[in-house]
Amino acid sequence: MLILMTQLDTGFGVWDPLVWLAALAVAIILGFIIRSFGVKDYKKGTDQTLPFLSGDKQENVEYIHIRASNLYWGYLDALKGYYSRLIPLHTGIVTDYLLWLFGTMAAAMIIGLLA
């Protein structure tokens, strides 16, 4: 009766969180059973517990992390002439940005008045 109360029939399928919880519990129990068959006398705290990287030492994760910029380095390299000028302008100082804002506005107004 409890299961029926939590059941949602959408017309396309049935959703019941209690059934999912029961399935999750069974999966966890099965996982622990399979894990219990594993070798227990491995040497903890040694290289036996580290991933195999072709014999190389595992470096700091932050050092070997592949950044998002690694995916579009070619794009940045192709436009480096543009970025080399643009990036120094982005100083992060508010007065610099305000100077750019008002300077551009003044220039636009002068051009508008002259036109």
Binding site: L50, G55, D56, K57
Partner: protein, 144 residues
């Protein structure tokens, strides 16, 4: 031959080149071809020492490879067997006086089976694997 409980399905080998000229590698690959077909007994090469029972080590262990050899040995689960394949791995071979060696292999990690030759024939490598199986059985009995 009855295999131990831990190894009653198959014996997996990981090949580690510590500075070999590639002659022994060619013979190891020849040993796993259909002509000899050791895979019918479950003997095969694996891509990670984490899955291996036997390390097939070739080469005289150059200074650059010492840390790798020690690390791969440490990453192989117990019980494990190390086979030194080829004259270089056993004695340094023609490079025994070289400035760039820290070997031979048994100076770096313990070796259980020696397979001499330059390079050893595939039959010799397979014979060495059989010897390794016998030693693994003994080790497994000692652990039990």
């Amino acid at each position: 031959m009855r295999l131990s409980k831990a190894l009653n399905k198959s014996l997996w080998a990981f090949h580690l080149n510590s500075g070999s000229c590639n002659g022994c590698e060619i013979e190891i690959v020849a040993a796993i071809t259909p002509r000899y077909d050791p895979e019918r007994f479950g003997i095969k090469l694996v891509g990670s020492p984490r899955h291996a029972d036997v390390l097939l080590v070739t080469g005289p262990v150059t200074k650059k490879m010492v840390e790798m050899v020690k690390r791969v040995y440490a990453q192989t689960p117990d019980p494990k067997i190390v086979m030194a394949i080829g004259a270089c791995g056993i004695s340094g071979g023609p490079f025994y006086e070289s400035y760039s060696l820290d070997g031979p292999i048994d100076d770096v990690i313990p070796v259980d089976v020696y397979v001499p030759g330059c390079p050893p024939r595939p039959e010799a490598i397979i014979f060495g694997v059989v010897k390794a199986l016998e030693k693994l059985e003994t080790l497994q009995k000692q652990r039990a």
